[in-house]
Amino acid sequence: MAVDELQAIIQRCQILEEADFKGEDFNLFQVAGQKCLEDGYAAQLLEVIQNEKNKVIVKNMGWNLISPLVRCIFTYKQQDDKREHCLKILDQLAQLCNPKELLLGLLEQIEQTSGEQVCQTVLLLLQPLQTVLLKLQHKKAYSVGLSLAVIMNQLTPLPVPYTKEQIQEDKLGLCQCCHAVVHFAKPFVNEVVKNMEKSSEYNDVELKEELLKFCMKSLEYPLLTAQLEQLEGIEEHPFRRFATEIIDILWDIRELVPLVFLHRKGKSPDWENQEFVDIERKNSADSLACLSYLVFVQHFGIDHFPVIFGPSYLLQCNMTHIEVLLKRTEESVLSKGLDLFESCLLRMEDDSLLHQYLEFRDFINVPQDLVKVMTLCPMEHLRKKSLSILQLFIDKFDAEGKYTLFRCLLKTSNHAGVEGYIIKNIKDQIHLSLTKVCDSIWFTGHHLISLLDLVLLLPEGAETDLLQNSDRIMASLNLLRYLVIKDCESDNRTGVWAALAKIEQNFLKPLHVGLNMSKAHYEAEIKNTKENRREAHSSNTVCSVTVSGEKMPAMTTEMQLQVLHSALFTFDLIESVLARVEELIEVKIKAGMDDN
């Protein structure tokens, strides 16, 4: 019987000295103990372990029982007595065993789990883990760090619940687990706080560093990808709570404000090599970006921050983080970047951001990233949001800043829709200049002409694809029409009249040519398609299109004709505006000549 075997080995070891325990004894003990558990004799095993006489044996050999113990706990049902016994055994082991060995046993157990078992196991073993770590007294820093690292490593592969339903269900137990881990870390945080008030011992710097590492990891997972807005119907949002708890820890260990304003720190005195600092900074980029989001968008921990910083400075500090977030493609991360950018911009007054800020590389990179989101992101609400943020960004700059930004985006966006949008902005700025008492030198005169060189042209001359560029071309024509109407030739404040010859040559003439060519081409296509319809449907498709693994059906002739006709319609539209513009020019020139 299992219990007898156990008793046998116990009796043998009772008379031995601790130093005389052999490998064989350890094995026998483990096998016997395991068998007891599997055969359902948990109660008896508990008695053996609780027996004072067996204290030394348990201290040395107990940790080997962790694995079978955990297995049993998960097999038994909640109400089962045997489960209670097992839990008590676990508790006893935590009290009695050699802390170092038991620690390894517990961590090994956690490392071996995966998938659905992970959170269950972690939740079970956090309490004994904490007991063991507290027993380590002054040498605990490394072990605490190791434990937290192992736990976080096991959690990281788990998917983060995102929708309200997923959070409420918490299928894998991640939400529960996160909260439990923070609770687990509490006594260590308290220890660091207490020791900070006394003179610092070398060891406490280590413990603080380990807690800091844990916080940084949590910011990356799960917080970076978690959904952190208030949700209707959920009283206590588990991730919002977790975020608050992490920030509280950072505040308690006095790392919150320094982390958020990391670049304000001088060279860290602990690092000989600036390279190390730079590498660390790169690895922690995601965590720091998430932290800024938590503070400035969700206002977690914002009470601890000075309310003195100038809004331009806050934007400058956050640009690196915004860039990091906008480069990602997951909705959860991207939307945080957009929210952070928006919240920084909303703190500023219009026209208050000095153009010199564009000398910072991220101030040029970020709007370009924004354009990528606007044009490439598959999620419509994010595309719309990034467009509104781009407009906000433009609005905050002073005149020279707007000017420089327009130039930059016209050159780099490579997207007709964006270019059209920028050109409309330019028109608005010119309008403000012409109607204000003091006009800006940036949107009139020779600066404007230089900008118009980028606007009033066809990128590939007469061969430009007018359809693809129609947004941009329409915007340019509208701008030109506006200039011609608003600016008298005698005034010539915008300088457009002096540049007219150039505009005709680079823009208007090639546009005529292009329109004629395109119309002819499409009319020929329509004729062909109509003729082909009379013939039987040929099954020789030259090419096919596959989207998401599904082959798209070939376009019917009707659909093809529809597309071709709508193209013609676009050309007509362009042509009519072009005609109107040229008419206006002629009228004005004639009026000018008559005046003379």
Binding site: H299, I302, P306, V307, I308, G310, R347, E349
Partner: protein, 405 residues
């Protein structure tokens, strides 16, 4: 406590535009005469309230002063303007209109739109903005010019966007002043390598300082930018390369130079010159009796003069150290005792200062200055005791009241 209303009525308008956007009342004037300059790192304790009296921020809640670089737009406009007018140790009140604070945007979540802000601020200390060096083209080799090295450089000096200086010049490091070159360049050269081309951003303290440079049209306390190329240099002899005879000869020359700089108020340059004497002679061994006497005499003069310079530079701890060294050579030296007393007085160590001044009187009973300094010490000691008494008196009353409840 001064209310916002009092500020609105009696406060001084410190805005450059004179639009009453930032009003100030001094609660307690500073102990020093200097205000921080652009680029200086400033440490401030403060409390901020909204118009309705609600506190929105306090550095004391964080148990540490707020630190920032002045005049760089890191803080709201009212602070860049206000803190620049504060002297070290000053406490003042500031009333700030929204145009100089957070404007119509406010600052979520604590500051609403169009909020007028009220601050009580005390300036703890500030550190000079120093020298920032950006290397455009790296130099070669590993050695740098040392103090006293002869360098050939090309420099271009800019103030704002105006270039005021452009030339090739050869001079001795530490004596750039003789060629209208600010001390920041001398200091930076010691870190540069042969062939290096760099840009130097000099805070006013390392530029032309309070005197400005009328010759170049530079205003006082201006920030300067220099582009410097170190074409070549020849290192000055290290201390161990010179024999005692050479050192004593050079000491005489260097002492004169130092005195000349001192008379012109160029204290940083004077410190460099006197410092050479110390580094050459302080650890010199194997001197004959005659040499020993000469060396001690130079060292004594150097320490005493260094103490004077440090007093002028407000580096009081260093002044005390130099006096200690001087008194180590001559324990009853009147100047040494007096200057140490001065330094200690300025560090608020009144008892120690009084001791020094009393010793001065023992050495020279006719020293009137020492007599008056002693009464200054006594007066300050009394003032401080009064203040402490008031603070502690209230504290005990408060405890007693609390215990009684």
């Amino acid at each position: 406590e001064v209310q916002a209303a009092a500020l609105a009525e009696h406060g001084e308008d410190i805005t450059p535009a004179r639009d009453r956007g930032v009003l100030k009342i001094i609660k307690r004037p500073g102990s020093e005469d200097e205000s921080p300059m652009i680029g200086d790192k400033v440490y401030v304790h403060y409390k901020g309230k909204l118009a309705n009296g609600k506190k929105f921020d306090s550095s004391r809640d964080r148990n540490e002063p707020f630190v920032f670089s002045l005049g760089k737009g890191q803080v709201i406009k009212a602070w860049d303007i206000g803190v620049a007018t504060m002297k070290k140790g000053e406490i003042c009140y500031l009333l700030c209109k929204p145009e100089y604070a957070y404007g119509s945007a406010g600052s979520a979540p604590k500051i609403p739109s169009n909020a007028t802000l009220f601050f009580e601020a005390s300036e703890d200390l500030f550190e000079d903005g120093g020298i920032i060096r950006r290397i455009k083209r790296k130099g070669e080799g590993y050695s740098n010019p040392n103090e006293g090295a002869t360098v050939e450089i090309r420099l271009e000096g800019f103030c704002g966007s105006t270039r005021f200086d452009c030339r090739d010049v050869k001079f001795v490091v530490g004596e750039g002043e003789d060629h209208d070159i600010p001390i920041g360049i001398d200091k930076a050269l010691e870190k540069m390598q042969r062939g290096e081309h760099c840009i130097l951003y000099l805070g006013p303290r390392y530029g032309f300082g309070e005197g400005g440079k009328p010759k170049y049209g530079i205003q006082p306390n201006a920030e300067l930018v220099y582009e410097v190329t170190l074409k070549s240099f020849e290192k000055a002899k290290e201390s161990w390369e010179m024999d005692t005879k050479e050192k004593l000869e050079q000491a005489a020359i260097v002492k004169e130079k130092g005195t000349m700089y001192f008379k012109e108020g160029k204290y940083l340059q004077a410190v460099i010159q006197y410092g050479k004497i110390v580094s050459w002679l302080e650890m010199e061994y194997g001197l004959s009796e005659k040499e020993s006497k000469a060396s001690d005499s130079f060292l004594l003069a150097a320490f005493l003069n260094l103490a004077m310079c440090y007093l002028k530079l407000r580096e009081y701890t260093k002044a005390v150290e130099c006096c200690d060294k001087a008194l180590g050579l001559d324990q009853d030296n009147e100047k040494g005792l007096y200057r140490r007393g001065e330094a200690r007085l300025l560090m608020n160590e009144f008892e120690l200062a009084k001791c020094d001044f009393q010793k001065v009187l023992e050495v020279n009973p006719q020293n009137k200055a020492a007599k008056s300094q002693i009464s200054v010490c006594q007066k300050k000691t009394k003032e401080h005791n009064e203040r402490d008494r008031r603070i502690y008196a209230n504290m005990f009353t408060k405890f007693a009241e609390r215990d009684a409840k």
